[in-house]
Amino acid sequence: MQIYLPIAEVSVNALLLFGLGGIVGLLSGMFGVGGGFLITPLLFFVGVPPTVAVATGANQVVASSVSGVLAHIRRRTVDFRMGWVLLIGGLIGSALGIWVFNILSALGQIDLTVQLSYVIFLGFVGLLMFQESLRSILRARQPARKITRRHQHLLVHRLPLKIKFRTSGLYISVIPPLLVGMLVGVLAAIMGVGGGFIMVPAMIYLLGMPTKVVIGTSLFQIIFVTAFTTVMHAVTNQSVDMMLALLLILGGVVGAQFGSQIGARLKAEQLRILLALLVLGVCALLALDLLWHPGELYSISMEGRA
């Protein structure tokens, strides 16, 4: 069943889009990632113009994050206070990121920058998570050798402006979460993603938040960042395709529900190792694309068309 997308001006199979939305929604519900880093490349692949893919991808992420976060709110696994702190940082970072994005666009190297930052960040984050979760799985297998201390005194605890994050069971300075939020905001603006795949590990390893509240809190923050991005794209270059978004969303919300069910049944370590593998897989594909001799050396991009 073909459907004509009014903004993208292409005709695409509706079931295919529904399926893509579903897969991304499933992963988003399981891991608390918005799925922006998956949906955008997938849309390129089915022939949607890049600007439309980026903008509409952000819109789809809003829906799947809303769907996902509601399940987490009911399970009381959203740290709202932490979410707001991350969000403030995120919006500051996003503004910075847009500034950097425009400079790079003017230099004509934005495509490469985006792809390289995907490879570097996905690779770094993926490896870190993979190694850490592998270690914790192995540790869990060896029965009770040494119990790790719950309260490690890191830098996070020595900075001023301490706040109690009750849901996370933390009493830390607001400076690190603000910085994490900012970093994610910058990357969100440059890479066109919600930033969940960076925020989730950052919250676990840098802030020391318990894994079970990390996903809900990440989704909470992603909703606002991607909502902001969607409106910005709609206003500045009219590239949000509502028809495309609707199909992706329908698939996505269904997928997200199943995803959060599966996620709730898996152990935290298993969840982390799966996300690590997913992140590494996407990283490898993007890296190969940069390294391999392309089949077609030339590419066409339209001008004067939003």
Binding site: Q2, S11, N59, M232, V240, M242, L246, Q257, Y298, I300
Partner: protein
């Protein structure tokens, strides 16, 4: 009396001994949500006041989507990775271009006539000055990519011509049509020279919901953006609520 009649006839058909009379199966294409391409039949006849001159009559029909500027980029290996380096801007390149003819183009049209009427695919495209030495390679790449995706079609036996008078050609328009006026040209040639041409437009427009969404996104982008958000939030909430209802 006979002389006067001859004079009148001379005025009635000045210079053109042969003339195209043409029609289209449709002059409007409506793009709806379920639009999956369209067939266009171009047909017509050659009107003659005098006996046909020497040499076979040939017909060329072109169908051209709205021209847009495009940038063609080339990747090169820089420090081990493939990066876009050179780029050439093609100031005018139709989003869709189909040619049908009665015989191979180089038999029915001379180089100079092609240049004058911009008929063949390379002539229909216009590249502007660029700093790149081998700019021609870029337009070749543009044609190659567009041909592969079915946006540029050359069918050298696509026109049926009967008795040097009646002709018809069928065009299959793809599903990925850009909105706009599509120029249809019918060229009559003899010995490679264009003796008459006829031009009409096909109006390709979005209708219904497609039209409404497109117009809103252009005219009220903020409202459109907020509406997209509302759609997303409502869909997300509804799905969550529906699943809870199913489970309970």
């Amino acid at each position: 009396m006979i002389r006067l009649l001859a004079l009148l006839l001379l005025f009635a058909a000045p210079l053109r001994a042969e003339e195209v009379v043409a029609g289209l199966s449709q002059t409007r294409i409506a793009i709806t949500a379920s639009f999956s391409g369209s067939d266009i039949l171009v047909f017509g006849a050659v009107k003659r006041d005098a006996p046909a001159p020497e040499g076979p009559l040939q017909v060329i029909i072109t169908l051209e989507g709205p021209p847009l500027a495009v940038t063609v980029r080339r990747k090169d290996r820089v420090a081990g990775i493939w990066v876009n380096t050179d780029a050439v801007t093609v100031s005018r390149s139709p989003s869709f271009y189909a040619i049908a003819a009665t015989a191979p183009l180089r038999e029915v049209l001379t180089e100079t006539e092609d240049l004058r009427h911009a008929v063949s695919i390379p002539r229909a495209i216009r590249a502007v000055g660029s700093g790149v030495e081998d700019a021609g390679v870029f337009t070749d790449a543009l044609i190659r990519i567009r041909t592969e995706e079915g946006s540029y079609i050359l069918n050298e036996t696509g026109v049926d011509l009967a008795e040097e008078t009646l002709f018809r050609a069928q065009f299959i328009m793809p599903a990925n049509l850009t909105e706009g006026a599509y120029r249809t040209r019918i060229l009559l040639t003899r010995n490679g020279t264009v003796i008459d041409s006829h031009e009409t437009m096909i109006d390709v427009r979005k209708v219904g919901l497609e039209r409404w969404l497109f117009a809103l996104s252009r005219e009220q982008p903020l409202i459109y953006g907020l509406l997209s958000l509302v759609l997303a939030v409502v869909a997300g909430w509804a799905a969550s609520a529906a699943f809870r209802y199913i489970r309970s």
